[in-house]
Subunit: 207 residues, 2 copies
Amino acid sequence: MSGETENPGEIRPGGRTARTRDAVCRSTLQVLAELGYAELTVERVAERSGVHKSTIYRRWGGIDGLVVDALAFAVDDDWEPDLSGNVEANLMEFARMALASFADPVYGPTHTAVVAAAFQSDRAVDAVHRFFADRFGRTSMIITRAIENGELPQNTDPEAVIRALMAPIYFRLFISRQSVTDVDLEQAVQAALAAALAGVFENQERR
Amino acid sequence: MSGETENPGEIRPGGRTARTRDAVCRSTLQVLAELGYAELTVERVAERSGVHKSTIYRRWGGIDGLVVDALAFAVDDDWEPDLSGNVEANLMEFARMALASFADPVYGPTHTAVVAAAFQSDRAVDAVHRFFADRFGRTSMIITRAIENGELPQNTDPEAVIRALMAPIYFRLFISRQSVTDVDLEQAVQAALAAALAGVFENQERR
């Protein structure tokens, strides 16, 4: 990432590297939001960002690399789940936020593009793994807190509950291609909780 | 679909139409299985099937149309779920069969290709809708039988239970890109059943 000397007038190469990434990621996100994945080309990102095509190819490899880094760029935040309610309220709040994020004009198309790219690119699969590890990790706090409060069984696997909650939502959006209503979110929350309360997600010596 | 007169020596135009579809769909499935979606071209299908490129473009429109029809062709069967066990055993049997079908060298890549194509093609979205309506419809018998047997609440929505069962499996395969083990299948069955027994999937006047 260092050693960029194309522009000798630049006196802060570290700062320039960061600014280049910023410009390229923002341009990628803009193109995804405005034109969609099918219209995303390195040429277009180069034009918008003012970063030379050869630099983009060298540093990001191509479209997949751009999409992957743009997703990392877009989610590189300090988000933590709201823990102010009981477990049911906190899960519902999270599910609503997750669904809303798909409708966000920048974040939505980027996340969708990475999920789509994972069908053809191992690099995108890695990005997807990192993304869900991060999100599941942060969201697990809702379940950890619920266990502490005695709302869920002691050995409940937090990630399993979050996955059970999110799977039907992703399934509707990206697999069966059905709309997701607030009623669907509520059903997903209730189903995940019922299973957790029944001990289905308890970590134990597996048979 | 009728009125094909390119080959006047053909005396059964209906039969020829069916044979053309058969050849084209089989070739599409072969290419998908052997080379994958990225290598699927109309030229390649034309070459393998012996059906002229222009006929394929005219009748199927292009790659998306081929994939969509090949999926319909591949699932055009008399499959019905096994109802010989209790609801838990029948769901587990179905989940195992569904997972195995993704590993099938013909069916697996075709189903995956249609799910992937739906990210970019409305035609593929329609195919996905028809596919799941068909599969959910047939599989619902497991739940209908369970209700008759008093294993599940009277007003349980069969499709909701099947979706709850399959969503985590599709989520792992196509979204979070994690492997699916027999333990995961069992957890999916137990979670769907626990939610159904708790009444989460009961059809009722919705609030």
